[in-house]
């Protein structure tokens, strides 16, 4: 705990200073609340009963975690397929590159049209934005293996799947984990964009409704909640990395 404090002291000091400056600026310049609410007002909105936060939080968390898991599973599976078979790679890669160049946000209305309101389309949008780096990093991690390591497999007559299990896949862990950090952020973006386009629940929906009522403190409070979820998912990936691949030098 002490070490954690010492290590993060610069960030904490900066954060506190910024929030303090914000508070002072708002009162000094007499900012209107609907333009820029002060931190204290936002804090009050966060705890207020005006919005049923728990329900919205649950929905958005579900969408983000769902998008993240889906992007991770599909991304790793596609990455393995590409590294496993040159034929599959030739078939999949151009298609995936094409999908990745699509502006995913523009696809959101279609998903809602096909799937209706609810958490599923928003999950899919998040997954669609976040899966590509996982595919690429998985495939790279599986193929960037020292030739000598593969020679070991050949000398011991190991079947292809065993070389994957014992050598290639562990080799890919750090690559996959660093892609998942990107995916964590992408899942948040996707879920919120989906809620913007059409929804009746979730933190993105809350932000949209405040536009009409000029309830800016609530919009800020929703932002705070979104970043809490985003940080939690990101933190979970970092912890998982430390647990799964303690031998890799982690770089954040």
């Amino acid at each position: 705990m002490d070490r954690w404090l010492t290590r993060n002291a610069p960030a904490i000091v900066l954060f506190v200073a910024l929030v303090g400056a914000w508070q002072v600026a708002v009162s000094a310049f007499g900012m209107r609340e609907y333009i820029l609410p002060s931190p204290l007002v936002v804090l009050r909105a966060l705890g207020g009963s005006e919005i049923p936060w728990a329900g919205h939080l649950w929905i958005t968390t579900l969408e983000i975690v769902g998008a993240f898991v889906l992007a991770g599973v599909v991304g790793v599976a596609l990455g393995i397929a590409i590294a496993w078979s040159p034929v599959l790679a030739k078939a999949l890669v151009p298609f995936l590159v094409f999908v990745n160049t699509l502006p995913k946000v523009a696809v959101a209305p279609l998903f809602l049209l096909w799937l209706g309101y609810g958490v599923v389309p928003n999950m899919l949008i998040g997954a669609l934005i976040g899966f590509f780096p996982v595919v690429i990093n998985t495939a790279v991690g599986l193929t960037q293996v020292d030739e000598e390591m593969l020679d070991l497999g050949r000398v011991f007559n190991a079947p292809k799947w065993r070389v994957f299990a014992k050598i290639r896949i562990p080799n890919a862990y750090p690559y996959i984990l660093s892609a998942l950090k990107v995916t964590a952020t992408a899942a948040v973006v996707g879920a919120i964009v989906g809620e913007f386009v059409a929804s009746q629940k979730g933190l993105g929906y809350v932000i949209i409704t405040t536009q009409g009522s000029m309830n800016t403190p609530v919009a800020f409070a929703a932002l705070v909640w979104i970043s809490v979820i985003g940080l939690a998912v990101y933190g979970a990936v970092v912890l998982a990395a430390r647990w799964i691949a303690p031998w890799a030098e982690t770089s954040e």
């Binding site: 020292d146 000598e148 390591m149 020679d151 070991l152 497999g153 050949r154 000398v155 011991f156 007559n157 190991a158 065993r162 070389v163 014992k166 050598i167 562990p170 080799n171 862990y173 691949a245 031998w247 890799a248």
Partner: protein, 260 residues
């Protein structure tokens, strides 16, 4: 003594985007079953290449290789291979790295753990079984890689400068240890092809020392080492040892690159 390894006019030309490199030319050589053969030659003359060709990890571009009477057309199994770099898997602890051959071969690795620990003790790595490779020095990693090669007790060992990163003392100790592993004094011995840059090491260990010319590597001379076995620390002090060392040294310097 029947020849286990037979190389017949083996040549190797690497072709890369930047052109082609002739690494080996017309290497003809037999290594007897149970023989300890050392391979010396200037850097870049194709020693590592030759080991890979014998192991079947890379096909020669000309000539023929046979091991135990069968032409080599794919990776040999049941060879112990020590590469020039340790290539330990960085996500595995030292013990698990040593056990890797058992796992890759689909054997029950728990049944080999005892032997793995024994080997680690032999090379002075007891106490490091549970460390990750990055926690080991270069020389310690080489020793762990040696244990890995020995785990399944292969009858043929191909070793590429296995002791290159060791201090002189540890190197001498491991040389003696290697002779014991080889089976010096036994009827049934392993066959070893051992690449080294150290002429004294080659003379101390080997039955014959094969001297290669600079690239493209050809056989410059084959020097039989008739020093009595078992060899001991005292073997190095004998006059024959000095004479052989000198003879190989001269053979190495005499072997001029072609066209010069």
């Amino acid at each position: 003594m029947s020849d286990l390894i037979v190389l017949d006019r083996v040549g190797m030309v690497y072709t890369t985007a930047s052109g082609s490199v002739e690494a080996l030319r017309e290497i003809s050589l037999g290594v007897g079953a149970g023989e300890f053969a050392a391979l010396v030659g200037p850097s870049g003359c194709g020693k590592s290449t030759l080991l890979r060709i014998i192991a079947g990890l890379r096909p020669a571009t000309s000539g023929a290789v046979a091991v135990a009477g069968r032409p080599v057309d794919g990776p040999l199994h049941a060879v112990g291979m020590v590469f020039q770099v340790p290539v330990l898997l960085k996500w595995r602890r030292v013990l698990d790295n040593v056990l890797l051959p058992a796992e890759l071969a689909g054997l029950d690795s728990r049944r080999h753990e005892h032997r793995a620990r024994e080997l680690l003790r032999l090379v002075g790595l007891d106490g490091f079984a549970d460390k990750y490779p990055r926690e080991l020095s270069g020389g310690m990693q080489q020793r762990a890689a040696l244990c890995r090669a020995l785990l399944l007790d292969p009858p043929l060992l191909l070793m590429d400068e296995p002791f290159g990163a060791l201090d002189a003392m540890t190197r001498d100790e491991l040389n003696l240890e290697l002779l014991r592993v080889w089976g010096e004094g036994n009827q049934r011995r392993k066959t070893i092809v051992f690449v080294t840059h150290s002429i004294p090491e080659a003379v101390f260990l080997a039955d014959r020392v094969v001297v290669l010319t600079p690239r493209p590597g050809r056989v410059a001379s084959i020097v039989p080492v008739s020093l009595p076995r078992p060899r001991t620390v005292a073997s190095r002090a004998s006059g024959d040892f000095g004479a052989l060392t000198l003879q190989i040294h001269e053979s190495l310097t005499r072997a001029q690159p072609p066209g010069r």
